[in-house]
């Protein structure tokens, strides 16, 4: 789900369908009986595909725990002939302070810092806009909504050059000023990445959250209006709590998207360990130390472990909200 903003929309839907599939898995008995009769070749082919799809990741995982010398000289599939287990690779990429090691610690902090706030900003701004689009009625607002929806088709690449120019004109002086004021904040800071990710996420976020928020029963909103609640109160006390599933789903989705991003980071981060996220560091390691497999395997696994954890751990939650938000017409 990494590199495409608008096209990523159905990822939510399809995660949704995993659950739908689970539900229907134990559907009718006749269906199950029929299944027993389907050909054995089908089972064998699907087994082969499943194994093919797993082997590359598995090889990487196994290798990351093998001593450097063994990785260099033998294939990971010979692990039983050439046994060896070590955590040195992880220790090296994470904690070693030697200049040759990738020192991933600060990049992990960067990835977390970038992803957290670049998730929070579009989440709040998009839900505010979605609320206005759904519940404050004016003629031209619908056209504005359609326009925002249509913006999803603009590829990221269309925005990069001018946005970088805007940032270096307006944001750079501010960053320099902040650095003078608080010296421990480096001159390159997270601000451009936070803003860029938030900007690019908004059209999709508004669209998804609007689908959900516009479904809140109008009785609820109108009752609150009659009781004299302001829009601000309704938004915080009624809309946000009711939209929690959609908010959580979008948050998880956006978090993984930002975490996995390379393009935006390459352009707006400056590439130093003050700002650059894990993906950028990993890509850089491939470029400069493409043969250091003991480091590459461990570093790659570190960079994919958080998205995988989110994927396995929060699948259900992810699923429910986005399904509700996106299959609805």
């Amino acid at each position: 789900m990494s590199s495409v903003a608008p096209a990523d929309l159905p990822v939510g839907e399809n995660l949704g369908s995993i659950e739908a599939a689970e539900r229907s898995e134990y559907g009718s008995k006749t269906a199950r009986v029929k299944k027993r009769l389907t050909s054995r070749t089908a089972t064998i082919i699907s087994l082969i595909i499943a194994v093919l799809w797993t082997i590359p990741t598995f090889g990487l995982l196994v290798s990351s725990f093998r001593p450097a010398e063994l990785i260099r000289t033998t294939g990971w599939w010979t692990i039983f002939q050439n046994p060896g287990f070590t955590l040195d690779n992880y220790r090296d990429v994470l904690f070693s302070t030697s200049s040759a090691s990738p020192q991933l610690g600060s990049y992990i902090v960067n990835s977390i810092a970038i992803a957290l706030i670049a998730t929070l900003i579009p989440l709040v701004f998009a839900s505010m806009a979605a609320y206005a689009f759904a519940w404050i009625r004016f003629k031209w607002v619908n056209w504005l909504f359609i326009f925002v929806f249509a913006l999803q088709i603009i590829p990221l690449q269309m925005a990069l050059v001018p946005l970088l120019q805007i940032f270096s004109t307006w944001l750079r002086p501010m960053q320099a000023w902040l650095h003078d004021l608080v010296p421990i904040i480096p001159e390159q800071n997270y601000l451009p990445l936070w803003l860029a990710h938030s900007m690019f996420a908004l059209p999709l976020a508004i669209f998804l959250l609007h689908n959900f928020i516009s479904e809140i029963p109008s009785d609820v909103i109108e009752a609150a209006r009659v009781d004299g609640a302001t829009h601000g109160q309704i938004f915080f006390r009624i809309v946000l709590p009711l939209a929690t599933p959609a908010l959580a789903s979008f948050a998880i989705f956006q978090f993984i998207w930002v975490w996995n991003d390379l393009l935006v980071a390459l352009i707006f981060s400056g590439g130093t360990q003050d700002v650059a996220p894990l993906t950028q560091r990993l890509a850089e390691m491939v470029g400069t130390r493409g043969q250091d497999w003991q480091r590459l395997t461990a570093a790659a696994f570190i960079s994919i472990v958080i998205p995988l954890g989110v994927f396995f751990g929060l699948q259900r939650y992810f699923v429910r909200g986005l399904l509700a938000g996106s299959t609805k017409g």
Binding site: S3, S17, T73, T74, M158, T230
Partner: protein, 322 residues
């Protein structure tokens, strides 16, 4: 990372949160204190303000500016040179051809494999685990996937033992090891494999849900008519999931047109593997050829546009039928 560095980073996050909270708080304050006259306008405007401001600065203005830059040379004069370059230089033409190969192969193969897999595992025992296995790569970053597959394609010269799986298989079959990523044109296809590896799970999950939506009565009726499994698949299942097929194909096509990270990580576009999105980055941000980069971005947009329009149309029609 020194303690001061970490402290600086934490401070940035805390300050970021504080400023953001202040902005939102201020907005809500003004929303609730809006003047009586034209109150709804005020409130609507303030609710929309931050998002619209971000979209205007981050998307609308840049998109317009990029479109103009594509038709300018470095001194700002109007010209078509950027497009002439794109369609005449051998390297640039190769980029376009590669992109076409990508967009022809990735959507079709991912969808075909995903569909076959979805049909085969449908209602079988352990369907859930089968699905998770194929779907997992979607959570992995393209950079991570790039490293995973570079390891598979790794080459060892001389008589040394191969540590890359692909070359090990070649050697085991009696062949000579190949420098896969440096060998044109096979390298482009090997990069495409990575994208297929990622996208197949996506296709599979979407199609699997669609297959479960095909009414069992139709399939049973076809069964009573004495059709075999293949005929039922072609004449009942496929028509029943046409909408989902279109969505899957178009979505993967768009993602493929914009593929950047995989090429960047695995070959950086060298050895004739570049694609539009990668070339756009290289030209605009490495070679300082902003005009050429903008032209490539515009081409990308023009390529994506009809697919999206088609996709939206199909979705709308489906909705009308329902």
């Amino acid at each position: 990372m020194t303690t001061a560095d970490l402290l600086g980073k934490l401070l940035q996050v805390v300050m970021g949160l504080a400023v953001f909270a202040a902005v939102v708080g201020l907005l809500i304050f003004f929303i609730d204190k809006a003047p009586k006259k034209g109150r709804d306008y005020w409130q609507l405007g303030l609710f929309l303000l931050p998002a619209m401001l971000f979209i205007a600065i981050g998307l609308v203005y840049p998109a317009i500016r990029t479109s103009l830059l594509a038709f300018q040379d470095s001194s700002g004069d109007w010209t078509l040179d950027n497009f002439v370059w794109t369609f005449t230089q051998p390297a640039a033409i190769r980029t376009l051809i590669n992109t076409i190969i990508w967009v022809l192969l990735v959507p079709t193969i991912s969808t075909a494999v995903g569909l076959a897999y979805a049909v085969f595992i449908d209602k079988s025992r352990g369907e859930r685990y089968y699905k998770v296995i194929l779907f997992m790569p979607i959570a992995i970053s393209f950079v991570g996937a790039g490293v995973i597959w570079r390891f598979v394609y790794e080459y060892r010269g001389g008589d040394r033992e191969q540590i890359g799986l692909l070359n090990a298989l070649v050697v085991a079959a009696g062949g000579e090891p190949v420098q896969w990523l440096q060998t044109d044109p096979i390298n482009t296809f090997l990069l495409i494999v990575v994208m297929i590896w990622i996208q197949t799970g996506f296709a599979m999950v979407l199609l699997s849900a669609a297959i479960k939506g095909v009414p069992t009565e139709q399939i049973e009726a076809a069964q009573l008519d004495g059709t075999n499994g293949w005929q039922r698949f072609l004449n009942v299942t496929v028509p029943g999931i046409r909408g989902a097929l279109v969505v899957v194909l178009t979505t993967i096509s768009i993602a493929t047109l914009k593929v950047f990270d995989i090429v960047r990580t695995m070959t950086a576009g060298n050895f004739n593997t570049s694609v539009i999105a990668n070339e756009m980055y290289t030209q605009a941000f490495r070679a300082s050829e902003v005009g050429r980069g903008s032209a490539l971005a515009l081409i990308l947009f023009v390529l994506v546009l009809p697919i999206v329009v088609y996709n939206v149309n199909v979705l709308r029609k489906q909705r009308e039928i329902r």
